[in-house]
Amino acid sequence: MPYTLWFQKAGKEALGLVGGKNASLGELIRADIPVPPGFSVTTEAYDEFLSEGGIKEKIEKILSPIGLQDVTSMEEASQTIRELIRQTPMPNKIQEAIRSNYQALSQVCEVPDIPVAVRSSATAEDLPGASFAGQQDTFLWVRGDKQVLDKIKLCMSSLFTARAISYRIKMGFPHEKVLISVGIQKIVDAKAAGVMFTLNPLNGDLSKVLIEGSWGLGEPVVSGQVNPDKFVVDKVTKEIVRTISQKWIECIFDPEKGMVCHLDIPHERQELQCIEDEEIHELARYARRIEEYYGCPQDIEWAIDKDKPFPLNIFLVQSRPETVWSQKKKEPVLGKKSAYDLLMEKALQRIKIGS
């Protein structure tokens, strides 16, 4: 079993090995969607790391006496375990595998120590919401072997947040059976980024793509820190209905500080539309293709590269099934009605015009 797998090599068949998020990136690449290159550190690597480092037994020991109600000690246990994972070095062969993939990625991108995003990718159905996992363990602009290895361990340790532990206890899942994979992906130095849905989540309209975006990296949009620009695009007529918001902050990489920072957006850019119409149309086109590929509505993260020319500047960095409407919309809207029924209905109807 491999410790690492390139995204394009692992689709949905490899879900147990690379987790949902990474498997979905693999699928996107297969559907010819522009996804920034990267690879997964497999659950196999995680499992071996925990076994060989003797971490498994220690965790078992720490967690076995803890009961559900014991909030303080659960928090302490979480701290101890996560610290333990961080401190324990990974077995050499795993480190080697990761290093060699990372170097290969840097070569492909023609940038030494290519900046990457490091994200966890859960395999287990036990984690209740993707948002819960996603918020805590995404690391942006990670560079160099050491940093990459450190952040991978941090991601892995996120399986042991107090909330995750308590959830597993409540549901009766054994901790040792739950595995995690980590994705290492070239970061898009984004002019603008955000999220899109392949339907309008406000009313379930399947003929629309809703795109939300703001200046800089997509994180403030995902986490709801900015009021994003909103574009509702008709899949058929391509009409765009737009709402331009006042955008206060953007998340960008500060080369001087060597880290990702939240900066105030200068006044003159606050109310500018953050993506061009042609980019909106291109995003909507990809949204449709992804939805068609998966056969169900999707929730997609996207980014637009600062330096590349259109349309090569557009990247999709994540896609997952939309959950709210996809479940609701099983039954027909109109039902089995002949034109006669529909017409009769309309003829009997009165249209409200007073208020």
């Binding site: 309008n200 003929s207 008709d234 027909p332 009605k337 017409l343 003829a347 009997l348 208020s355």
Partner: protein
């Protein structure tokens, strides 16, 4: 209800003193009256800016007299749309106000529902063959009207052949009386035909729009319009004929050069007659003139608009620009197949987005129903408002000529200053004088003064802006035309109420229907009267009370159009979509707020017009 204090009640309207005497221009039942006051106060009356953005010349009221009866009867007595009643009309200081009549009692609704199910559905199922029949009988009616004989003069003595060997038995006096009566009857009949399938067409559209909105809650009105509208409709034929004639002209350099010159149409025809090729081309044009030049330069509702037939300079100027564009290698025709193909694609794509098979089936059924009959909305317009009306104008002017000949009126068009009940009086006085013999006085001064006074009142009315509505807005409407053609909605009524209070110079943004997609910025050209149409320059944004497809070639010139009134499938919306010109209709106040030269941004996706810079 807030509206209660919003609009005045019918009898509370105050008229400027320049309008004094306007009431006598129209039949008395067109005025609000105390006797019907209780009922009139219960209805909601609004100005019909679609058909009558301008004050009503008395004789032109005939089309409205005819449609009030016809439109209403199809809803109430023929196809029996259950909760809907007719549309009533009243004149308010020379402007037409209309009201969707309140619904009937529940028992009547039930009765009507049964009849509706049987009658209406039959029409939808048999539309194609019914259309054939309709067109045949309508064309026969138009030919009858064209054949009505108006005496060229009242002869001193009737010609011998009408007396010997056997007297005809009736002469110019009777012929003139009969001619006008026939023309009136034929016009009423034409308008009976006009609504034969139109109410059902609109109902089908509303039904399909509902279905589309249930399946796709955010679907735009323009997308629905695109799905149902046809490409190969009579209304677009006149323009297609001009394109064809232009191509024909280009095939002969001599003809092309004459068409391209700056001379008047009359001079061009004179030049063309001098060469063989020119004669051939003219003969070709003559062949298509009837019916395709029988197209009003305006909406077809006003006598002064003229038609291509009477204003040949208009089709010739279009052909001049077509010939020039052909010279540059441009394509001038709209590809009908392309438009049809695009429409089919759009329908198929929406259909693909529907998840359940049951919904797919219902959508298809609904679409088939509207698609079959929708053509009527676009076809009838040419045959009634343009073709038949153009024939009518010619005939009425022939009668006007007789009045001028006999010194009763100053100009032939003064006949339009008398309503259709008054014209017979003029005719009668004229033929009495002729019959009585020599030296019989006519009350020429009386009629001429009346015509002059009425022209002054109409001119004053033009400068007067009546309130947009009267009475209390109802909570709901079931009458299909009110919603669809006139675009009366809650928002519209609110907008009017606001509009009565706004100071035009303080407005920075207008809202209307997003009826044709696209966003553009440009300079405004306000066209309130049809004669201002020729002033439009390339790339301007047309702002007008309402437009219609007869202005077709203008739409290749303008960047966008904004109208005061018009629903989702009003004429302006249809043409703008056909030409891919962004359009916002039904803003309520565009012509009073915007001035020629203002810079605006028209957003046909959202229905918003932003004023960027005042002229």
């Amino acid at each position: 209800m807030a509206q209660k204090k919003g609009f005045p009640m019918p009898l509370e309207v105050e008229y400027p003193k320049e309008l004094e005497g306007w009431e006598e221009m129209y039949p008395s039942h067109y005025l609000f009256s105390k006797e019907r006051g209780e009922w009139e106060n219960r209805q909601f009356w609004y100005q019909d800016k679609i058909h009558d953005p301008e004050p009503m010349p008395p004789l032109d009221l005939i089309f409205h007299e005819a449609w009030q009866i016809s439109l209403s009867q199809y809803t109430t007595r023929v196809f029996c749309i259950p909760p809907a009643q007719g549309i009533a009309q009243r004149m308010v200081g020379c402007y037409m106000f209309i009201a969707p009549v309140e619904p009937p009692p529940p028992a009547i609704i039930e009765e009507k529902a049964k009849l509706f199910g049987k009658r209406a559905f039959y029409i939808f199922e048999h539309y194609p063959e019914l259309w054939e029949k309709w067109l045949n009988k309508f064309q026969a009616l138009g030919r009858q009207m064209a054949d009505v004989k108006i005496p060229e003069e009242l002869p001193k003595y009737v010609p011998e052949e009408l007396v010997l060997p056997a007297p005809q038995g009736y002469y110019a006096s009777y012929e003139l009386i009969e001619a006008f009566n026939m023309l009136v009857n034929q016009m009423f009949k034409g308008w009976q035909y006009h609504f034969e399938m139109l109410n059902l067409t609109y109902l089908a559209y509303l039904m399909f729009a509902d279905v589309a909105r249930k399946l796709f809650p955010g679907i735009s009105e323009s997308a629905i319009g695109m799905m149902v509208s046809g490409a190969d409709v009579s209304m677009f034929r006149p323009e297609a004929e001009l394109c064809r004639l232009s191509r024909l002209a280009v095939s002969s350099p001599k003809v092309a050069n004459i068409i391209k010159s700056d001379a008047s149409a009359e001079q061009k025809i004179g030049e063309l007659k001098k060469t063989e090729e020119g004669k051939k081309w003219l003969a070709d044009m003559e062949k298509v003139k009837n019916p395709w030049f029988y197209i009003s330069c305006g909406s077809g509702w006003f006598y002064y608009e003229g038609s291509w037939l009477t204003k040949l300079d208009i089709p010739f100027s279009y052909m001049k620009s077509y010939v020039e564009r052909l010279g540059k290698g441009e394509k001038i025709e709209r590809s009908l197949e392309e438009i049809s193909r695009k429409r089919d694609e759009i329908v198929a794509e929406y259909r693909k987005l529907i998840k359940s098979d049951e919904d797919k089936k219902s959508f298809e059924d609904a679409f088939k129903t509207v698609r079959g009959i929708y053509q009527f909305a676009e076809d009838h317009l040419f045959w009634v408002e343009h073709w038949l009306h153009t024939i009518w104008w010619q005939k009425i002017r022939d009668i006007g000529k007789l009045f001028v000949q006999r010194g009763m009126l100053k100009e032939e068009d003064d006949i339009f200053m008398f309503n259709r009940f008054e014209v017979p009086e003029l005719i009668e006085e004229l033929v009495i004088a002729w019959a009585l013999g020599e030296g019989i006085p006519l009350r020429s001064k009386y009629y001429m003064a009346k015509a002059e006074k009425r022209k002054r009142i109409l001119e004053a009315a033009r400068k007067w802006n009546p309130v947009p509505a009267l009475g209390i807005p109802p909570e709901e409407v079931a009458e299909p035309f009110t919603v669809m053609l006139w675009g009366i909605t809650t928002e519209k009524v609110q907008e009017w109420l606001k509009g009565m209070a706004v100071v035009p110079t303080e407005v920075t943004e207008l809202k209307g229907f997003a009826s044709s997609a696209g966003v553009v910025e440009g300079k405004v050209r306000v066209v309130k009267h049809l004669d201002e149409l020729t002033k439009i320059e390339q790339g301007e944004i047309l702002v007008c009370p309402t437009t219609n497809p007869a202005w077709a070639p203008i739409f290749t010139k303008i960047k966008a159009s904004v109208t005061d009134i018009g629903g989702l499938t009003c004429h302006a919306a249809i043409v703008c979509r056909e030409y891919g010109v962004p359009s916002v209709t039904g803003t309520g106040i565009a012509t009073s707020v915007l001035k020629t030269g203002d810079t605006v941004k028209v957003d046909g996706n959202t229905g918003i017009v932003k004023i960027l810079k005042r002229a």
